[in-house]
Amino acid sequence: MEFETVIGLEVHTQLMTQSKIFCGCSTTFGAPPNSHTCPVCLGMPGVLPVLNREVVSCAIKLGLATHCTINRSSRWARKNYFYPDLPKAYQISQYEAPICEHGYVEAELESGEVKRIRLTRIHMEEDAGKNIHGEGDDDHSYVDLNRAGVPLLEIVSEPDLRSAEEATAYLKRLRSIVRYLGISDGNMEEGSFRCDANVSIRPRGSATFGTRAEVKNLNSFRHVGHAIDYEVRRQARLLAQGQAVVQETRLWNPTEAKTFSMRSKEEAHDYRYFPDPDLLPLVVDEGWIERIRATLPELPAEKEQRFVRDYGLPAQDTGVLVASQALADYFEQVAGGVKEAKTAANWVLGDLLGVLNKLGTSVEESPVDAAALAALIRLIEEGTISGKIAKSVFEKMVATHQPAAEIVAAEGLVQVADPEQLRPILQQIFADNPTQLADYRAGKTKLMGFFVGQAMRVTGGKANPALVNDLLREMLGPVEE
């Protein structure tokens, strides 16, 4: 039987507010244990939460950027369960009435197809602290509540995803959006952008969903892809053996490249959600939404369309260019300083990203800034250096941070574009290669390439190739038929 994969993702993204969601403690990462805590985030008796306005603004931003309905009134709920990293024994979250609902994200697949993934909801909630487990014989765990109360947005997608590739493309686009909005750093490895995947399979064409497993501990895009692929194979194997898939939570183990059941002896969770009496219903007026709408940056999808329209770029280039705002901005600066935007795109996507990858750095930290790259490309466009020379100039720019023109001048790389300078060189080449010259004249016109190559070799690559071609044709004269 042929199966279809059905995936829905729940993403938790940590917001980059200064202070926690319900108290004034700092959200800064990496402080000594429990040094960013107060009676509120420690869940001390008698203390009360007061909502950080900025968290709501962040939620509205993301809601607008993902085409959601922003609910004018939403509610806070308590999700009750016991765990040492959850000081109040309940998490303040939103349940029945989240702030954003019914949106979508569009992501481009390898094939070029644009997939629309519907969002069920986006809601605000507080993060839990961290339990650090003792090593070796130490039979204790250590509770650090610095993270308790750091604001999160949970983004829940509809089960619209059909493959690991789609899931990854969606996640990447969603991460781009939160980064464009400046609401989260979107760092998966550090846990500020976390993903749980609900995975199920069903016979192709079936209208009902299969039983799903919730896969956790996916802290890189690669893990998301691998875990989904593994889980699909596991479920297909079960069904093929006539067994049922159990609805459960499973943990991805990247070392073994498998998912494992998290089932414990404890009773099934019953979170006893109910409206939090300590927090009033959240009312968001039209003015607030409109003020935020007015400040929204151009988002990846809009930017892509504009790049195709204004720069005439092919769709396969724009996806990578807009993945981060910084890269898109870099590209636009380069494109603004040169004649051909397509040349700028080629340089950014090829040479620049290659170097950044090799150096393991980001475009913000690029050793060659956009103005310098544009200056280099202009040297090609003006005929000062050849494209080939430009590659080596670029490498030197990376190493020395010198401007292209300086390198070109210092190393005498200026292109030879004067026919009177080239003619004697070509004459000499003919003299040195009489056999090839005779063969050419006898009709082996493919030897044109040989002479061009010789010209480039002799001039150290500095000869203007177009000019060499023209001169050769002129000097070699018409070929005998």
């Binding site: 001390m44 008796p45 008698g46 203390v47 000081p87 009496p277």
Partner: protein, 487 residues
Amino acid sequence: MAADSDLARLTLHEAGALLAANTVTSTALTEACLARIAAVEGSVHAFAHLTVEVARAQARARDQTRPDPLPPLWGLPIALKDNICTRGLPTTCGSRLLANFRPVYDSFVARRLEEAGAVILGKTNMDEFAMGSSCENSALGPTHNPHDLTRVPGGSSGGSAAATAADECLAALGSDTGGSIRQPACFCGVVGLKPTYGRVSRNGLVAFASSLDQIGPITKDARDAALLLAVIAGHDADDSTSAREPVPDYVAGLDVGVAGLRIGLPKEYLSGGLDPEVEQAVGFAIATYERLGATTVEVSLPHTEHAVATYYLVATAEASSNLGRFDGIRYGVRHEGHDLLDLYQRTREAGFGAEVKRRIMLGTFALSAGYYAAYYGKAMAVRTLIRNDFTAAFERCDVLLTPTAPTPPFCLGEKLDDPLTMYLSDIFTIAVSLAGLPAVAFPCGATKQRLPLGAQLIGRPFDEGRLLAMVHAFEAASGQGRMAPAL
């Protein structure tokens, strides 16, 4: 200057006047209360913790500096219910679980009292986590009614009411979730005001039921209640449910009188089954108000009969969640276990008393999967109907007058084995809490055995000033002085 032994009998405003006139010191007032405590505390047991040295130091400090003008409670010794957080002082909520807990922060009201210059004598006994109507559910043992030591002082703020009635302090703060200020005030013959929900910050009040809890004054007369409420009322940015409504001058408003007021008498509260002595006392209060020029009108609160059922679902559901934090990890008395689950269960099983466990169980059930809609959801909807009853009644009258408790103070142990009967003793106070309205309990008579009896006035939201003025008018007109316990 009054004899030292009499100073403890003073009201806040009487003592404040003496202090202002420099005829008495804060130290003298404090020592008078401490002497009274030494004399009667052994039989009353109103306090959970005495903070004698803190009180003496505060009194000395108040005597050394006298700001001008003198803050309203400067040098006046008062007591706080033991669920109101006080930095560095025990705050145990009458629970074994919090036996060693000393908050590292002050409640909003404790800060306000400090700013007003009050002296803190100690923390008063209470039903554990404010769950009870008799002050018998305390890990520290019961408090006794100063008017009859075989009887309960009411609850859950029984310690605050008993301490005030027994002149162990000049006044006290209590908290009220379903009647926990008003019923003990009634049983002890003192004035107890539950403010409008949101009038006084809950910040630092250990939560029982967050949508119902309010801190309020328990005092010897209406003027003291006005004085104390003025100090603790007002907006607090650290409590999202704190009201921004301006705080009127309650003391200045005490003398507005009652002429022309329309007093609503809810027929459901005054018909059938009422203790005859309670009925008589309430009748006396009504007659006094009529004599002073108020009129009465019968009103109906038809959903009152469902108030107790509604309350015990709403309050326990919230409590089951509020009390989850008592897990023995960050504070409290831990009972070690062989694993985490065992630690949780041992700590909570050993730390909570029977009534608290019962309410956690009931609340957990009311919120659990499959029961939420029928229990908690239903109760929240009936709560709306109960609120609507009051709104409708207030279209026909300015205040409501009812009994505070259906019976005089009952005996210790009398209702302990029968939770439901105990719950029903709050029948007149609970609906008010569900509606979030202000209400004041005040003494208006006594039984033949000299047990206090009282009535309750219920106001529109934020109408505390009118309620206090009415109690003040009754005090002046009734000719009855405060009934002092024979201790």
